[in-house]
Structures are given as structure tokens and as C-alpha cells.
């Protein structure tokens, strides 16, 4: 039964998407319930996964493996593409996060009135592909999901977005597509350099493979190939492996996003409808970070070691640049978007430290930021729903009229700025600690990063004070629209707040599953 659990996670939403598409429009009220139901089933399945996951093992569990494509390549031997799924400590927490955020997104999509059939089928499709991307253990399969997820996202932003939706949808598409092209080059290069040692003995010829487990082990590289560890070839004057690593940095850096490749993010976030922003910040950005850990660092540890300064520098730059930008924003959603850039920088910092604390902290930061950013974008959605306006200056003293909302906002903001006992603190603390303990990073790098903490306290507290305290006033006579949270919003916001507190107080819920895998992962360096 366990054997098809991961496939179920991927294909249940995709089948449901087809179902929604085929149902006649007369059932249009049921579409949102299908979304919610499927997300709940998925989350329950993920809980089963989480509970039965053996925390003392560092290898992949719940493996599913089927042969998909096996083609002869003329003089090159055979290329084998497999359908392999599995989880370990790195992606299990991401799967858990996706389950949670997609459920929240489904609930947040409740009041989508415009073309609900198309919306919910795209939403379900997105949910299947995102989970597929996290659990795929074959580079080809991973890439298919990675690329394919652009399409539903493109339509979700482009049809249901705000005023400049068409511009930001195509910008999002082009940026990520260019990133994925870089990844594609590396994918081809890796497959051409790696031999599936298991099958090649059986078949008596070179079997090029995309299997993560083979790519991650230097033993399987064909000596003399471009990306093998002993390769001395240069590409445009750069060692081949370094070239590939840089391509991956750019490719996943766009998705993460890291400064200076982040410029699609504020546009996409501002124009996207609330549930899509929630998904985008909560899960999609984590795919970039996941790619960094699994692929860039996992397959090129030697280059990662040489590039420590670049990665850490990009991380610190994102932290500080994102924070300064957030400080300058007048639009609440844009501020949150830039805070995402800033917080994702900690993931890079933790990763580049190459210490157990740093990498575990990075994984935790991904998870924690997923929960908190989902919450923050919902918060921005609440006032946008009521006034169709998000400018911070347009609101004063909301706490007197919307006490329930204010409580949720306080939890979200304090969580994000790093109050102990909430997830933001744990992630930032461990990544910074990793940074200070690291043998490869000088102390001033994490010191600079702490500046980001100060700044984030600045913009969150400032916004909180401006919008929620003082005398109640809303621009353009929207005072009467400012009703407090309804039940649906309460369920989402307080549910997420509860999760934030639980995972903030018991960070071991995540560290337990990531610990063993990270230990193995760090042996590469």
C-alpha cells in the first residue's frame, strides 16, 4: 500500500483536475469543494507519510520505480529514463509544506467567481505537479514537473490576476523558462557523463541515466566525460564542472529568487490573486531552494565548495537588498514579496556554511517561511478583498475594528521578523549559527546577514504600527467595509498561526526528519 502513496499524491489532484474540466458548468458550486476535498485527502496522506517515515535512516524511503523510456542512442549507448519517486529528509518536509499550503490555497480560493471551472482545474493541476517536482528522483522527471508547473501558474496569474496581469504573467514565464533552459543544459551534460553502473553490466553497454542516486555518486561518472569529477576541460575558459554549477546557480537562483535575478517576483506577487500568491511564496520558491540543495550542491559538491563565497554573497545580498526594498514599499503585498526575497536569502546562507546547523536551518527556514509567507499573503488578501486597495498609508488603527485580524497579523509579523518560539527565529538562528561556525565562511558574512534581521524588525513593526494602531481611519470612505475576519478567513489564518507556534516551539518536528539525511549530505564536502 505504501508503494503507491507518493504517486497518489501526484495523480489524485491531476485526475481531479481532469474531472473538474469534464463536469458540466451546472455543477460549478462543487468545484471548490472538490479542490478542498482533494487537498484534505492529500494532506492526510502526507501525514501518514510523515508518521511512518523512518527518521533513523538517511536513504530514500517510499521508493517507487518504474522503467519509463529506454532508447538506444546510436553510438552513444542507451539512455534510460525512469519514473522514480521517493522521499528523504530533504524533501519530506517540503512535501508536508506543500500539503499544508495547498489546502490553505484551496480554502482561500473559495470565493473565486470568475470562471471557476478553469481556475480549479488549473489549481489542482498545479498542486499535483508541485508535489511531483519535490518527490521526483529522476532528473528528467523532475525537469518535466519543474517546467510544466509554469503553465498552470502562467494562466492562474494571467487570467485571475490584477490590472497588469498579462505583463507579469509573461514576465514570470520568460524568467523561469530561461532559468529552466540553463538547468536543461546541465541535465543533458550530467546524463551524458553518468553511467547507470547497475544496468550497464546487465546490458553490456553504457546506460546514460538521469537517476538522482547515480548522479549523486562520483563513482558512476564516466571518466573523460565533460562533467566527470576528473574533467579538466574548459568551457569558455571556465572548468566544465564550474560552468555547469554556475548555470545551475542562475537557473535555480531565478526560481528562488536571489538578487539580482528576483525582479519577476514582485510583479508576479502583486498581480497574482491571493491564493496564487500564497502558493507562489509558500511552495514555488522552495522548489528553487530544493533544487539548490538536491542538484547544485548534491551533484557538484566540489564546485559548491569553491563557490562558497558566491553563494553566501548572493544570500547576504538578497537578505539585505530585499530588506531595504521592503522598507521602501508602500504597497503591503509588495513589501511582503520583498521580505520573501530577504528571507529566502537565509536559505542560501545556511547552505553555503556547509555545517549541520546551517543546512538543517536552511531546510527549516524553507518550511517556516512557507507557513509564514502563506499567512502574510493571506493577510494582505484580507484587506484587498474589502477595499481593493493595499497601500499601507490608506489604513490606520485597524485594531479597534478588526481585533481578530490584528491578532493574526501580529503573529504573522512577529513570526516573520524572528520572535523566538516562532518559525522565523528558528530558521534564522540556525542558519546564522551555521554561518558563524562555518570553517569556510569568514565571520563578517553572517554578521552582515544579521543586519537583515534588524531591518525586517523595522519594516514589520513600522507597518504594524502604521496600519493597526492609532485612530481608526481608512482612505476613500471604506470604513464601513472593514468587517473583521469571517469564519473561512479565521480558519485559514488561525490554523496557520497554530502551525507556526507548534513548529516554532518544537522545531524538532522538522529537524528530526532532516537530521540523518543532512549528516550524509555533508559527508560529500
Amino acid at each position: 500500500m505504501n508503494n503507491i502513496l507518493l504517486s497518489t499524491l501526484i495523480f489524485l489532484p491531476i485526475i481531479a483536475a481532469a474531472l473538474v474540466l469534464l463536469l458540466p458548468n451546472a455543477y460549478k458550486d462543487s468545484f471548490k469543494w472538490i479542490s478542498i476535498l482533494v487537498s484534505i485527502i492529500n494532506l492526510l496522506n502526507i501525514f501518514t507519510l510523515y508518521n511512518t517515515f523512518n527518521r533513523s535512516l538517511s536513504t530514500f524511503q517510499f521508493l517507487e520505480q518504474y522503467e519509463w523510456i529506454r532508447m538506444g542512442l546510436g553510438n552513444l549507448g542507451i539512455i534510460s529514463i525512469n519514473y522514480i519517486l521517493g522521499v528523504d529528509g530533504i524533501n519530506l518536509s517540503m512535501v508536508l509544506l506543500s500539503g499544508i499550503v495547498f489546502l490553505v490555497g484551496a480554502v482561500a480560493s473559495f470565493n473565486i467567481e470568475h470562471r471557476p471551472k478553469a481556475y480549479h482545474s488549473l489549481f489542482l493541476l498545479l498542486s499535483g505537479t508541485v508535489i511531483g517536482c519535490f518527490v521526483a528522483l529522476d532528473f528528467f522527471l523532475f525537469f518535466i514537473f519543474f517546467e510544466f508547473m509554469l503553465l498552470p501558474m502562467y494562466f492562474l496569474i494571467g487570467i485571475w490576476g490584477g490590472e497588469r496581469r498579462e505583463y507579469s504573467a509573461i514576465k514570470f514565464f520568460i524568467y523561469t523558462f530561461v532559468g529552466s533552459i540553463f538547468i536543461l543544459i546541465v541535465m543533458i551534460g550530467l546524463a551524458m557523463s553518468v553511467n547507470d553502473t547497475f544496468f550497464s553490466q546487465e546490458l553490456g553497454t553504457v546506460v546514460h541515466t538521469f537517476d538522482f542516486r547515480f548522479l549523486g555518486d562520483f563513482k558512476n561518472y564516466i571518466s573523460g566525460s565533460l562533467l566527470s569529477p576528473d574533467s579538466i576541460q574548459l568551457i569558455f575558459g571556465i572548468p566544465a564542472r564550474m560552468f555547469a554549477f554556475i548555470l545551475l546557480l542562475i537557473g535555480f537562483g531565478i526560481k528562488l529568487p536571489t538578487v539580482p535575478l528576483h525582479t519577476w517576483l514582485p510583479d508576479a506577487h502583486v498581480e497574482a490573486p491571493t491564493p496564487v500568491s500564497v502558493i507562489l511564496a509558500g511552495v514555488l520558491l522552495k522548489i528553487g531552494a530544493y533544487g539548490f540543495i538536491r542538484i547544485a550542491y548534491g551533484f557538484f559538491p566540489d564546485m559548491a565548495f569553491e563557490c562558497t563565497y558566491v553563494v553566501a554573497g548572493a544570500g547576504v545580498l538578497s537578505i539585505i537588498y530585499g530588506a531595504f526594498n521592503a522598507l521602501a514599499q508602500e504597497d503591503l503585498k509588495k513589501m511582503i514579496a520583498y521580505s520573501s526575497v530577504s528571507h529566502m536569502g537565509f536559505v542560501l546562507l545556511g547552505l553555503s556554511s556547509m555545517t549541520a546547523e546551517g543546512v538543517n536551518g536552511a531546510i527549516y527556514q524553507m518550511f517556516g517561511h512557507g507557513i509564514l509567507s502563506a499567512m502574510l499573503f493571506l493577510i494582505a488578501g484580507v484587506i484587498y478583498d474589502r477595499t481593493h486597495n493595499r497601500l499601507i498609508d490608506n489604513f490606520r488603527g485597524l485594531s479597534s475594528r478588526m481585533p481578530l485580524y490584528t491578532v493574526a497579523v501580529t503573529v504573522g509579523f512577529f513570526g516573520a521578523l524572528g520572535l523566538p518560539s516562532l518559525p522565523g527565529f528558528v530558521g534564522e538562528f540556525f542558519t546564522l549559527m551555521g554561518g558563524f561556525q562555518s570553517k569556510v565562511l569568514p565571520d563578517w558574512v553572517p554578521m552582515l546577514a544579521t543586519l537583515g534581521l534588524v531591518l525586517s524588525a523595522g519594516y514589520f513593526l513600522w507597518t504594524l504600527q502604521k496600519m493597526f494602531f492609532g485612530k481608526f481611519w481608512v482612505n476613500r470612505n471604506h470604513e464601513n467595509h472593514m468587517k473583521d475576519l469571517d469564519i473561512r478567513e479565521m480558519v485559514m489564518l488561525y490554523g496557520l498561526a497554530a502551525l507556526a507556534v507548534i513548529f516554532g516551539i518544537f522545531p524538532n518536528l522538522i529537524f528530526d526528519i532532516s537530521g540523518e539525511t543532512v549528516k550524509l549530505f555533508l559527508q560529500k564536502f
Binding site: E166, S225, L226, F236
Partner: protein, 487 residues
Amino acid sequence: MLEKLSHILFSTRLLLPELVFAGVFLIIVTIVAFTKKSYHSHNLYNTLTISILITIGFVFYVFLSFLEQYFDSGVVLFHNLIYLDKLSIFFKLIITVSAIAVILHLWIIGYKVVGEFYAIFLALILGLFVMSMTTHFLMLYVALEMVSICSYILVAINKSKSNSEAGIKYLLTGATSSAVMLYGISLLYGMTGTLNFGSQEFATFLGQNPSWVANVAAFMTIGGLLFKLSAAPFHSWTPDVYEATPTPIVAFLSIAPKVGVIIVMVRFLSGLSIDFRLILSIVIIGSLFIGNLSALWQNNTKRMLGYSTIAHAGFMLVGLLALSQFGVQSAIFYVTTYLFITLSAFLLVDLLALKTESYELESLKGLGQENIFLGLSAVVIMIALVGFPPTVGFTGKLLIFTALWDSYQDSGNQLLLIILIISLLNTAISVFYYLRIPFYMIFKDPKGGARRYSLDIPKRVFLLIFIVLLVYLFIKPDLIMDMIEML
């Protein structure tokens, strides 16, 4: 004497399918000549053409699946004029498949064409058949001219002003490139003393000439081929012809001659003993950039597809640039899958035009909202043209890039890497204009409110077959690849 005669008789037997084909051509010409000219008999012609095509296709299939051992090393017929191997049979098979699809397209959409059309169409296919089984310059030139002349007539057959203009443009550029090609052939003949470019002495003698002379002569020789492929710098006829010509004919011209050209290129390049990569790279870079950058500014879907085929010609040549067995296979795979993609793209454009009666992008506004099936099909077909998963366009691109990477890994030639990066970059550029079709159909609201628009069953099924094929071949590319590997 007797020996020669028996050789000719033997050769004739193996060309039986083509002879039958020529017979049907004559029958149609006779019918056309002796019946009253009318547009009403197209059902008869359609049935006749489809049945002969299906028969021929079946014969090729049988050749390929059950009699393949006879063609393992290739058969030389008519004293070197014809060279028949599994590769040529495979290419004849896919040319036949595309012809069948085009006639079905014509029939289902309800185009009414005169009887002469079918005769010319069959003659064109015959030319392509000959083209795909020769390694002899003389035969190649005859076949190429046969294809070209038939194409000129097909383009101009409608007799409207824009048709004649396109026909004349096509004719002039075509005649020029043929002349260039002929000159190139004469130079190569002078250098090597043989007209058979598949032969050993061709390779040996060519290698003894100064490399740049041989390069220039070879480039001029492929000029006529590049014209058919609509690759730069022989591309200028493409957009006008595409815009003015009836869609099914364009669909056919955009794929069948290219298929024929690719097999000739494969044979020509594999016999070429000089380093031809630089010139080929320039052709590729030119085609990619001219095609993609010009397509960005088009507001007419057929013109846009015209520029897109220029870019795709570049991609087809990328596989050949790798100059390896796998490179050739990947190019063949690319051409085969591009056949389905481009036929479906033109079918889609025509189905849309049925409603809008225009090929302007503007007129597509909101069509995808009125008919979700068409909207989804547009998405699938356009992302297949981009080369985006989960469509077979992705697999095709992946294979040619893999071949190129491997060739780079073996040779360390930086040029190959530059081409790899440029072609990938061009994929990103192409996203812009391909996505505009689904963008207009789905994102823009229809003018004057949404009206339901539904297709009748045959149209829907025909389009659905293509869509399913595009996705299914992505999931199971081995279906085609196993066949190609056997060649």
C-alpha cells in the same frame, strides 16, 4: 546488353510502388482532361488520392517491417541513379503519412479545389520519393526541380492576385537557388569527377581540394536544398507564400519537402570529407535568429508560422551538425515529430479561421473561452512548437541538444557549444510569439460578448488525434525511436 536489361528490370521491380503512383497520376490527369471542369467532383478525387496514398503507405510499412533484411545494406538501382535503403523507405513512409493528413485536412475543412490540384499533388510526392532515394546529383536535381515546379503551381493554383504574387516570388527565388545549386554541383563534379555523392571517390577527391574552395562549392550545392528547407539565406519566399496559399497546401509545403531535404542532407553531409561545420553553423544561427526575431512582430498567424518554420529549419540542421550517428537519428526524430506538430498547428489555424474568417491574431480574441477544447488544443500545439513538456516537441529538442552536447564532449569544438546555447536561447525567444495565440484566445475577452462555438464531430476527432499523438509520443518516444534506430 542483356545484363544491363536485367538490371533495369530488377530495378523496376523494386520501384513498383512509385510506378503505380505514376499510373494513378496519369489516371487523374486523364479524368481531369476528359470531364467537365467542376468543383463538385472533389469527393471522387479525395477518395482516389487517399486510397492510393494509404495503399502506398501500407506497402512502405510492409517493406520496413517485414522485408527489411533486403534493404540492410542499401540497393543500388539504375546504375547508381537510385539508392534504396531502409532510410529512404522510412522517409517515403513519413512523406506519405503527411500527404494523407493533408488530404484529410482538405476534406474535413471542406476546401474545394480543382482536379488538377490532385494530379500536381501526386507528382510532387513522386518527386519527393525520388529525392529520398538518390545519392546522385543528376537525379537529385531532377527530383528537386520536379518538387519545385509542382510547388510553384500549387501555390499559384487559386488564381487570385495574392496567389499569383506569391507564386512569382516563389518561382524567382526558387529558380535562383536552383541555378546556384547547379553551379555548385558543376564545381563539385569538376573537383571529384563523379556525380554520385555517396561514393567513396567523391569523398577522397573532395578532400584533396583546398578546404575553402570545397566549402564554397558544397555551400552552393546545398543552396537549392536550403531553399526547400526555407533556411537562411534562402528563406525570403516563406512568409509571403505562407500567407497567400491555402492552408493545407502550406501545411504540406512546410513539411514534406523538408523531410526530403533532410534525408539528402544526411547523405550529402556524411559523404563530405571536409569540415563543413562553420558554414552549417552560420546557416543555423541565421535561420534561428531571422525566424524567431521576425516572428515576434507578426500579427497574422500564418505569416507567424511561416517565420516559425524558418526557425525550425535551423533546429533540424542542429541535429545534423553533430555529425554523429546519434545526431542523424535525433534529426530524423525531430523531423518526424515536427511533421505532426506543424500539421496540427496549421489544422488549428484553419479551424480557428472557420469561425473568424481571418488569420489575424486580433480576431482570435476570446475564442478559447467560447470553445474550451480549441483553447486547450492551442495550448498543447503551441507548447509543442516551443518544445515544452509534456509534448513530443520537448523530446525532439532534448535529443538534438543531447547529440550536440555529446559531439562537443567528443571533439571539444567550442562552435558546437555556442550553437547549443544560441539554439536554447532561441527557444526562449520563441515562447513570446507562440504563446500569443493561446494568449489571445484565452486571456482576451471576445468582442461583443461570448458566443458558443462548436465544431462538428469529424473536425473535433481529427484535431483530437493530433493532440493525443503529440502527448502520447512524449510518453512513449521509443515508438518512433526504435524504428529510427533500426534504419
